[in-house]
Symmetry: C2
Subunit: 320 residues, 2 copies
């Protein structure tokens, strides 16, 4: 029996924090990430990879607005920007992983190839997130500019606690990936599949059963969980820039967790140990995965992926 | 036995000529294109779709340069811009075709789904095109601006016969798509596959067998031919905004062609009947397809795709 694993990589797979990134630095980061990801393949797993896209969608949004100001160029909606980011980051990963497989002599043997699938993720039109957009995206503006842009583009804008005004969009709960059957098929045939990038392009299903893109962003870990559960993955692994999950993180009483059961994780989650913008959705995704029947969720540093898979690094969330 | 067809759609699948296009107009055009494309599926063909990306890569390039001028944002290379355009246009087609299949009750029956595969197309590092870049892309500049940008970004710039200066890039010959086996697999499983968008992301294979992106553009019809030949398609269909191939096009002696053999097509091609920037590469791609063993290549107007498939519209290029 083949063992399936879904790996979700964060922003540090592509860039250094708060850095804009040149093409060269993107390639350098992607090559390093590919190095860690291919070690998982060597262990005999069939691997699906998903990734974040926050900084890149932000850059695309800024490019478009600058193009509009300077030359009256069109501004595309957030679903299209998401699709563009899937092409961009999928390409970087698919080429660097392919090259690493070549280097290790694995291509055509344990792995047939590396495929990026442009993925649409279904959200519920009635999701309460649509009533209360909370996710800041794109550049910072003055209040006046922000309100002008809001009128022009139909945006919602709010003051950012870090200063200035920004666009806010809803971050609804992902329910399923439209392309899931094809993703499963490719995995079972021996391809490494890159899918659900940036959580997937957010779409809802209308009364006629048709898909409609929406201006929203989806949490990539929560969407990765949907992917992992749907393909029946044994392991769902979330790779980030922190080595473990901590209780009382950032306080003198901070304590790293090696293993926790779902019940423990839920208790800590409810006690507020995990911040909404950082560890919160990761732990929530891990809880959901194990509750949906997964064997084990792992949260670890990208550079310790291989050790974490062997229980020697990171935090494991297990049934119980 | 399943019959395979590869359909290459041109710019008119997404926008009106010389128009920048709003998100709404992109959706409107894509919906109309999906209408014509799904009729081919109804006829029992397994369909792979490829598309151009010239205007969109131009827009992406302009966005990036405006973002750089206004805010010092990074400028990505042409291969990454190509990957972004595959995500963008693939998403539009995949959603509108899915919706049309829903409307007609075909989804889950004759067709399992619609998948966009981010595709890398291999070119030969020694292709003479690299010595003599000829393809104009992106915005027009003054000579001074153009030369400044050339220095900054390592571009080649040339005066455009239509006025002004522009960036020129090589347009090398496509040899094969890296993702071809997965594309074939998905087609055989019953998926409509969108692949090799914009001719594919241009890559070459280095001494170690690794892929490297290059700053080039690939003709989408010539790349579509490689796709069609590799999957053993019966028919390669090129859909454009002209109803047929003409001899002496645009002169008083202009004459439409209903059918021509490969030998006739080659003779006309050599006589200079087909312009390099327009019908030339289409006829060349058709010739190559039939010479590679294809049954029939068809060049027709997008709106007459279905009639052309029945021999009632367009131009057929056949063996002989």
């Amino acid at each position: 029996m083949e063992k399936y694993i879904v790996v979700a990589v964060g922003g540090n797979a592509f860039q250094t924090k708060n850095e804009r990134g040149s093409p060269e630095s993107y390639w350098e980061h992607a090559r390093r990430s590919a190095d860690f990801l291919v070690r998982i393949v060597e262990d005999g797993y069939r691997v699906a990879i998903t990734h974040g896209n926050g900084p890149q969608v932000g850059i695309i949004a800024e490019w478009m607005l600058a193009g509009k100001s300077a030359k009256g160029l069109p501004v595309m909606t957030l679903d299209i920007a998401g699709a563009m980011s899937q092409g961009w980051l999928g390409y970087l990963l698919q080429q660097t992983i392919y090259n690493k497989l070549i280097e290790k002599g694995l291509l055509g043997k344990s792995v047939k190839g590396v495929i990026t699938v442009i993925t649409q993720t279904v959200v519920d039109r009635g999701d309460p997130a649509f009533m209360n957009p909370t996710k800041f995206i794109g550049p910072w503006y003055s209040e006046e500019e922000a309100k002008k842009l809001a009128k022009e583009h139909g945006w919602v804008v709010k003051p950012d606690p870090r200063g200035g005004w920004r666009r806010v969009v809803p971050s609804p709960n992902p329910t399923r990936q439209i392309e899931i059957d094809a993703i499963k098929k490719l995995l079972s045939e021996g391809y490494i599949v890159i899918a659900s990038g940036g959580g997937g392009i957010p779409v809802y299903v209308d009364e006629e059963g048709k898909l409609r893109g929406v201006e929203a962003v989806i949490d990539k870990d929560l969407a990765g969980e949907r992917l992992a559960s749907a393909i029946g993955a044994e392991i769902f692994m979330i790779l980030t820039d922190i080595d473990k999950v901590y209780l009382n993180y950032g306080t003198p009483r901070q304590k790293a967790i090696d293993v926790m059961t779902v019940s423990e994780a839920k208790k800590y989650y409810e006690e507020g140990h995990f911040k909404p913008g950082s560890m919160g959705p990761k732990v929530l995704a891990a809880i959901r995965f194990v509750e949906d029947g997964g064997k084990e969720a792992i949260i670890a540093h990208l550079f310790q992926a291989y050790e974490a898979l062997r229980g020697k690094a990171g935090t494991r969330i297990v049934p119980g």
